[in-house]
Symmetry: C2
Subunit: 425 residues, 2 copies
């Protein structure tokens, strides 16, 4: 689809540096609290948050036909519920407001509608209903299977026939910047039959992306791969924090539970699928051929560069992973078609994460489990320490962007600092 | 705790038959749509729905200090959010309104506040945030382990050390009476490497109970076994519909997904933990001893008789299971303490189901998988047909109640009829 707001030649009256994730072509949505104001729906350009409620009150959305409550809101769910036709109109209007041509004279009000992002408190953009985590990177699944099962049969028999996934915990999805206490839990010491209780010793990140559902389905309704993108409003970066030692003991036979549910961190801006249109690309060949309901046509993967950095308490940073969402074996359309093939219904705000996105080389592995290969290959940090997993005081930062010529569309950061375990109570 | 409204000697001016689940001592909460009215918070006595919004408008809650919006609501979440002190006041007032003494002269308004349950449409009582399914019946886990793994080591090593659980799908939890289409999905034929797509052939129920969380926690906060019941507002019957053939193919390594997410059915009335106080009982001995955070004191199990009936399309009914919630190895306080030990937060309306509640004898097995022992022991139906699993047109009905002397407190029904698979779209 050609989207006028994606035109790489558009320029804004707001200064945007060339390496910004948020040029005028992006226009993502999020919830910010500007100083002295209530939470509200905003977008961002360069390093300025654009307060859409103030813009609304200034009449800058006149003629678009949208209620004030859409912007005076703690979540973007109501905005998404308007449907893609209307949210495209809204993005188009915002694009016009911010252009050098500025037919609506928005620049006259820049003091009221623009706020430095550093002055804003960002909130969870979406009220998440259900959250599903897929396991869609062949390289990640192969690495895990190699480490824990059998290198000769690293992938389980179902893996290439369906996008394996499981339900996750929605309540503990938090916005970038929220500190996370190291989880306590049961683990089993080597060669012991008796579990012990204490802080997780093998705390890990997982580099993922998640899509946000913007259109609901009824119970019993299925979404085809062809229709799926109509149901996807946009994407965020997603860190599926994982306590490997808790996971190992608890996860049979019903899957990960407390090893994951203590927290997941998302980036604050939902980047629309429309804004990511220029980065569509072909996915990996799927062999064996998948069942008809999982077949698709066209470019359904996205070429988005992803990285993970660890910042130690002294402020040093080391990038430990460079990956790309185009590596995913199963695309979002297939995930959604599979998820609904049994009639499972979706609500607006439901979130589906990709699973850890690893590439073929160790530099592109998306978790410490893989990077340190189960702790056998520690990595050196700039401050002279080493890491097998994540230490207290470490901040893990996910970043992601697409680039095509001079156009760069990005996600900002999904960052979280690990605090020591909470003492009981 | 002694609760005045539980006094078995209380009598109501509303007729209640002795075998009713809903005497004046019950006073559960649910959402009903009486004829010509909007959805609202109601209770039930005998076979009369009590419209609490009408009662409110008549001034019958004067002095209790509660907002009208609590009753003019599509869910009981706001009611639960008032906290147990206030909801106890509300139940106490309702109890007074319905007593033969009737100090508030409610009976004068019986034409307005009472509606036959047969005239009301019942709705989901709770807006469910996250839903977790435990696996807390030793007999069920043993049966499953015996059938699918190793009779000598039927329970996995972690089972007696922690209440195994996993995240489930909240969006597809539906109220009793909602028909369910047989799910479509991938299954693997015997001795094949190539999955096929079609309607599930092994559709099953699971007899469970679920508790509803009425008090939220912060991320990082833990709930001790001693505090846990403060966070539990009440219970419902829960049918965790399961497609065994889909489950078998999909569930490694991350647990059940589409085999469960097509639907779960709950009873419409949330019976408060307070009303179930008379049925407290001791749980099974736990050996080996559990870790300190899972230890508890007092009676934390509930003696509630449970049954499952299958009704064929001609209206015949056969009770296929008689079980009891007191059999559960892990109690709700332990489930909640475990669930939050890693800091996972709870929101009001979150639901936790018990897992299939089976007893020791085949008559008390809580799923067709166990009753028919993987299909090897079909059961005979009154209409001359037999069942290994659930057929199209069958209605599965869960019922449950506690009895102590002449006092009977019950849940009504969680019923769902299976319709043929939806054709694509």
């Amino acid at each position: 689809m050609q989207i006028e707001a994606n035109n790489p030649d558009l320029k804004s009256w707001v200064h945007v540096s060339p390496d910004s994730d948020f040029p005028i072509q992006n226009i993502p949505f999020g919830i910010a609290i500007p100083p002295g104001r209530t939470p509200r729906v905003c977008t961002i350009i360069g390093d300025k948050v654009v307060d859409l409620l103030e813009a609304y009150d200034l009449g800058l959305f006149d003629g678009v036909g949208v209620q004030r409550s859409v912007f005076k809101n703690r979540y973007i769910n109501e905005l998404m519920a308007l449907g893609k036709e209307k949210t495209r109109e809204i993005r188009q209007r915002i694009s016009e407001l911010l252009r050098v041509e500025d037919p609506h004279h928005a620049e006259l009000h820049s003091g009221r509608i623009l706020v430095s992002v550093s002055q804003c408190k960002m909130m969870m953009p979406v009220k998440v209903g259900d959250y599903t985590d897929f396991y869609s990177s062949e390289e990640h699944a192969t690495n895990v299977g190699t480490m824990f099962r059998d290198p000769e049969n690293a992938l389980l028999p179902n893996w290439k026939h369906l996008p394996v996934g499981y339900h996750g915990r929605a309540s503990s999805i938090v916005v970038s910047g929220t500190p996370i206490h190291r989880p306590m839990g049961q683990t089993i010491p080597p060669d012991s039959q008796q579990p012990v209780f204490g802080p997780s010793k093998l705390l890990d990140f997982e580099l993922e992306m998640a899509f946000v559902v913007g259109k609901e389905t009824r119970l019993g309704q299925r979404i085809s791969t062809e229709e799926a993108e109509d149901y996807i409003f946009g994407l965020v970066l997603f860190n599926d924090w994982s306590a490997r030692d808790i996971q190992k003991w608890e996860y049979v036979p019903l899957g990960p539970f407390l090893a994951k549910s203590f927290a997941s961190t998302v980036s604050p801006w939902v980047v629309t699928l429309d804004a990511l249109e220029p980065f569509r690309t072909v996915g990996p060949d799927q062999d064996p051929k998948v069942l008809p309901y999982l077949q698709y046509s066209g470019k359904k993967n996205y070429d988005l560069n992803l990285e993970v950095a660890i910042q130690t308490e002294n402020g040093d940073e080391k990038v430990v992973c460079n990956s790309n969402s185009k590596y995913l074996y199963w695309n979002m359309a297939q995930q959604l078609a599979h998820h609904t093939v049994n009639g499972c219904n979706f609500k607006i705000g439901d979130m589906c994460a990709s699973g850890t996105i690893s590439g073929k080389t160790p530099e592109s592995f998306g978790s410490m489990l893989e990077i340190s290969w189960k702790g056998t290959k520690p990595i050196q940090m700039p401050d002279g320490t080493s890491r097998k997993f994540i230490n207290d005081g470490d901040k893990v930062v996910l970043r992601g962007h697409g680039r095509k010529g001079k156009l760069r569309i990005g996600f900002g950061e999904a960052a979280g600092k690990i605090l020591p375990s909470n003492p009981f109570k």
